[in-house]
Symmetry: C2
Subunit: 100 residues, 2 copies
DNA sequence: GGCGATTTATTCAACAATGACGAACAAATG
DNA sequence: CATTTGTTCGTCATTGTTGAATAAATCGCC
C-alpha cells in the first residue's frame, strides 16, 4: 500500500531509491532497499505497477534506473483500500496530539 | 490494522464474530473467523490488545465470549499508521465522483 | 587511455511475520 | 443428544525484511 502511494507521489522520478527515501521519511524508520524491490517485483507480478528501464545519467555511479508506474488497476485498489480505512477510522478518537 | 480499527469501533461488544462481520461489511468480501482469531492472537502477543473472558449469555449456544480491547500502545500505533497514510495519499488523484 | 576505487542502482537468497482457510473442539440451550 | 454460538488448531500462501552479491556508470591518476 505505502509503496504504491509513494510511487504515485514521486511521479516520473519513481524508482527504487527515492521510494525508500520517501517511506523512511514518512514512517520515521529505516527500510532496506531489498524490501522495496521485492515489493515492487510482487506488485508488478500482480499487474498493479509496470516498469521500464531508463537511460543512464551522466553522474558518478549514474547507472540506468528502473522506473515504476502505477497501473489503472493499481490505482483502483489503492482507492478501494483507502475508502475502507477511511470508513473504519471515522470513529477513531484521534487528535491525541497534546493528551494521552 | 483493520482488525484494530474494528475493535475500536465495536467498543465493549468487541469479540471474534462481530469483528469478522464488521470487516466483511466494509471490505465487501468474506473473511474466515480463523483469520480474525489468528490476528487477534498476534496482536495480543505484541501488546496491542488485551483480552478477557466474558460470561456465558442465556441464549441458545450462548457460550462465553472472549472480549478484546485495544491498549494504549495499540491506539498509538494505529494513529501513527493513520498519519503516515494520510501524509502519503494527500497527493492522490482521487475525488473523482464520490459515488463509489 | 586504461584501470581500479568509488558511487548509484538493482538483483538474489533466505528467513520471519502476517493473512487466510477449513476442520476440530468447547460450551451453552432446547 | 442435536443445534447453535464461539474459540482454537494445523497448515499453507503471501508479504515484509534483511544482508550480500552483482551491475554499470564516473573519477582519479599514473
Amino acid at each position: 500500500m505505502m509503496v504504491l502511494l509513494a510511487l504515485i507521489r514521486l511521479g516520473d522520478e519513481a524508482y527504487g531509491v527515492p521510494v525508500a527515501r520517501e517511506l523512511r521519511a514518512i514512517r520515521g524508520r529505516d527500510v532496506a532497499l531489498g524490501s522495496i524491490y521485492a515489493a515492487l517485483e510482487r506488485l508488478e507480478g500482480k499487474g498493479l505497477v509496470t516498469s521500464s528501464l531508463g537511460e543512464p545519467t551522466p553522474e558518478r555511479g549514474g547507472r540506468a534506473r528502473r522506473f515504476f508506474r502505477v497501473t489503472k488497476e493499481g490505482l483502483r485498489q489503492v482507492q478501494a483500500t483507502r475508502r475502507a480505512l477511511m470508513a473504519l477510522w471515522r470513529s477513531l478518537p484521534e487528535h491525541e496530539g497534546g493528551k494521552a
